[in-house]
């Protein structure tokens, strides 16, 4: 699924510079616990989260996650956004809750999540 399609499904806005709407992701992970994200990584994954601190971007950098959706209308801190831009991480924001956003992406065909 492309980031363009994710934005359409979630009515999400791109928030980062040089947003790559053609980037493809194959699976998703929804969590506010970066510990859990680190424990169950997959490649070509989009992260959905309500956590907006810079450690989200650090976690993405470590796991080579190139796309993040911030849910419930939360906006990343300026520091987090700067880190995203530096590391080529595509950031989106939606007003949907984490649960609803996850459900809509699943319904839209993004099935595969964490291992197991």
């Amino acid at each position: 699924m492309t980031l363009k399609r994710i934005c359409e499904i979630l009515s999400a806005q791109p928030l980062s510079d040089n947003f790559d709407e053609d980037l493809e992701v194959q699976c998703a992970c929804s969590s506010d616990m970066m510990s859990d994200v680190l424990a169950f990584p997959k490649e070509h994954m989009v992260l959905l989260t309500g956590l907006v601190n810079p450690q989200v971007m650090r976690t993405c950098d470590m796991l080579d996650i190139r796309a993040v959706v911030f849910t419930r209308g939360k906006l990343p801190s300026a520091e987090a956004l700067e880190m995203a831009n530096e590391n080529g991480i595509n950031v989106m924001g939606t007003h949907l809750t984490l649960f609803i956003a996850s459900g809509k992406l699943y319904e839209g065909g993004l099935y595969n999540g964490t291992k197991g």
Partner: protein, 141 residues
């Protein structure tokens, strides 16, 4: 024979710089042309170790050492130590504070995740003194 050895100090409870050492290590290994799969496993384990140093220790350091066969990462700290290592290794067990959980960490997955990502994992801890974790990542598997 070591072809690289570098130390990265990590400060306790400094969430602003937490992860910077791991990011530096990742960039260094990329520059050295290490296999992306090895870099990925090491980056995850390294970040877990760094976050643990920030959360649980009174300060410590990460030491990266590389030879033609493998990369080793050693996490050493001064701090309270771990009274029951088997319990600490079990997924879901955590002594992290609510403040740490608010930052997105402290789910009790760290040590087990380090062991999962490393090819060899060894932990030593003395209560009231500190903890030493050694992880080896084979380059040519």
């Amino acid at each position: 024979m070591s072809i690289l050895k570098e130390e990265f100090p990590v400060e306790a409870m400094d969430f602003v710089t937490a992860g910077e050492a791991s990011a530096q290590i990742k960039r260094l290994l990329k520059k050295l042309g290490v296999d992306p799969g090895v870099i990925r496993r090491l980056s995850i384990a390294c970040y877990e170790a760094e976050i643990n140093l920030v959360i649980h220790s009174d300060g410590g350091k990460l030491t990266l050492e590389m030879n033609p066969e493998n990369v080793s990462l050693i996490s050493e700290d001064v701090g309270p130590g771990i009274p029951d290592i088997d319990l600490a290794m079990s997924e879901g067990y955590s002594t992290a504070s609510d403040d740490v959980r608010m930052m997105g960490f402290g789910a009790g997955m760290g040590l087990a995740n380090m062991a999962r990502n490393a090819d060899r994992f060894h932990i030593d801890s003395k209560v009231g003194e500190g903890t030493r974790i050694e992880m080896i990542f084979d380059i040519n598997k």
